[in-house]
């Protein structure tokens, strides 16, 4: 009821779409690049998910109110500039407060600029919807992306390092699956997860 009051009739649908029916990774296969590269450790995944969510929300706050002012012809460039400014903020924030994670994520923080989820949402949603709804969409998509990253990272960190958030969780004599710590391992995990998602949604 509260949702309906604040966001109108589309609120419910927006959340459902972002969290399941138009899942950014499983359904649309967006943002796979960063998701493949940094999901070998759960703390990396959380940092990346938080970074992307922040950029998503901040972009929606800027772009959605300005959607009628931005000329059609230069809209992509305007989105790009907005997104990159926030990515630079995230990069500097990580460098200042979490230098270890910043080093581990390396170039992938900067590459959030090219993360298709943000560009895609800006083009498909923020440029056509009211600010409140856009923020809701940004939050839901951010949660969706972060949760997926964490799920994949949990599987990969346990198999690849035998740890979870740095704590050893596997029994003695555990042999690390080196391939899971490398990017190819993410392909197998994503492949299976997308398959399961497809099986469930096609029912």
């Amino acid at each position: 009821m509260l949702l309906k009051k604040i966001f109108g009739s589309k609120g419910n649908k927006t959340i459902k779409n972002a969290l399941w029916y138009n899942h950014p990774i499983f359904s649309m296969c967006l943002g796979i690049c960063s998701a493949l590269a940094i999901t070998n450790k759960v703390d990396n995944a959380i940092a990346m998910g938080a970074g992307v969510s922040f950029v998503l929300i901040a972009t929606s706050i800027i772009i959605s109110p300005l959607r009628k002012l931005i000329p059609q012809r230069v809209r992509i460039i305007s989105y790009m500039i907005t997104i990159s400014s926030f990515v630079i903020i995230v990069d500097m924030f990580l460098k200042a407060f979490f230098p270890v994670i910043s080093v581990k994520l390396g170039p992938y923080v900067g590459l959030i600029i090219t993360n298709c989820i943000i560009m895609g949402r800006a083009e498909a949603f923020y440029s056509q919807n009211k600010t409140g709804l856009s923020i809701l969409d940004a939050v839901s998509n951010g949660i969706s992306f972060t949760v997926t990253l964490i799920v994949v990272a949990v599987i990969r960190e346990i198999l690849g390092f035998g740890t979870l958030l740095g704590y050893k969780v596997t029994p003695g004599g555990w042999e690390n699956w080196v391939i899971m710590a490398m990017a190819p391992g993410a392909f197998f995990v994503y492949g299976v997860l997308i398959w399961i998602y497809g099986e469930i949604t096609s029912r």
Binding site: E175, W177, V178, I179, M180, M182, P184, F188, G191, W195
Partner: protein
């Protein structure tokens, strides 16, 4: 055979057992030859069916299997049992979900796979490897006949990359419990010493279980070639091109590339050339395609053995060429029937 037929017909008539029809079909087909035709590769121009075809491969593998048991003890049999069980579970699950027959190809995968592992491989790694190979190497593509890569090699590749220490340093010399990191190829790479050829032939060196007793592989391989189950063109062109490229390479870079006869006898080349590269599903079916396939495999093997960080290149070269199989066939056919 009549009572068996009657019993099977009775089991078919029980409605409760309907979901398990693929399993019953497999038993049925083991006793009575099926009447349907193959839809996908391997196509056979003879009155043998897929099952006897695969059976011939298993017979050809017997010398190396028995030699492995003699060399490394009963643990080898345990590995084979685990391989069949773990891969069989994946196979049966897919057969039940897809409501199709259990595919015969698995009987070969189940025994080829453990034979290419080091004799000290833990059983759970055998299970992970074969399950992965059957799942990602075959089932996700649609089962036997639709797989672009040899499932046993996919499994082996996966565990080689996943568990590099276990898969590359825990070899055993036959009849001893000593663990050694040395295979003839790695000895050559570090110290340029050539293991005596007679030791290689009799299997008195470190190596995968099934690949060390090379006389047995040659006997089994020749059986396959003469019974025309495996195509001689691939095996001969593979071994021949390794010989030629090693001969040229050894003359040009004697410090990098090992001499030809040693290249042929060492490592998994004979095993790969006779049992892996000739897999009818993942190798070309055109004649010219087969020659190109074998020669390219040989070239890649020599290159990987000599210039990469890995000591053995048979597995990689066959998998790489498997990926090129459809395009080789396509090219050969389109050149042949160009108007």
């Amino acid at each position: 055979m009549k009572p068996v037929r009657k019993l099977l017909d009775y089991i078919y008539s029980i409605k409760l057992l309907k979901p398990f029809h693929p399993v019953i079909d497999a038993v049925d087909a083991a006793f009575f030859s099926p009447s349907e035709l193959t839809e996908v590769k391997p196509h056979i121009l003879d009155n043998i069916d897929l099952k006897r075809y695969m059976f011939a491969v298993i017979i050809a593998l017997m010398p190396s299997t028995i030699a492995a048991v003699v060399f490394y003890g009963w643990y080898v049999l345990a590995m084979i049992v685990v391989s069949y069980a773990a891969g069989g579970i994946v196979e049966v699950i897919f057969a039940l979900i897809r409501k199709k027959h259990i595919e015969e190809g698995f009987f070969v995968t189940g025994i080829i796979f453990p034979l290419v592992l080091p004799p000290t491989t833990p059983l759970w790694i055998v299970a992970v490897g074969v399950a992965f190979g059957v799942f990602f190497g075959k089932e996700v593509f649609g089962g036997t006949g639709r797989n672009p890569f040899n499932p046993a090699l996919v499994g082996r590749l996966f565990i080689t990359i996943a568990f590099p220490t276990i898969m590359t340093t825990f070899w055993r010399v036959p009849f001893s419990d000593a663990i050694t990191a040395a295979t003839p190829l790695s000895i050559y790479k570090t110290s340029h010493t050539i293991t005596p050829y007679i030791d290689l032939l009799l299997g008195q060196c470190g190596g995968s279980m099934g690949e060390t007793f090379r006389i047995g592989i040659i006997v089994g391989g020749l059986f396959l070639l003469f019974s025309k189950v495996a195509d001689w063109k691939i095996s001969i062109s593979y071994i021949g091109s390794v010989f030629v490229f090693a001969l040229i390479g050894n003359a040009l870079f004697p410090m990098k590339i090992a001499p030809p006869v040693f290249q042929i006898l060492a490592g998994g080349l004979l095993y790969g050339a006779f049992f892996m590269a000739t897999d009818p599903v993942t190798s070309p079916f055109t004649k010219a395609g087969k020659w190109i396939f074998g020669i390219a495999c040989g070239l890649l093997t020599v290159l990987i053995r000599s210039f990469s960080g890995y000591v053995e290149g048979v597995m990689f070269s066959i998998v790489i060429m498997n990926a090129f199989t459809p395009i080789l066939d396509h090219l050969v056919l389109s050149i042949k029937y160009r108007r």
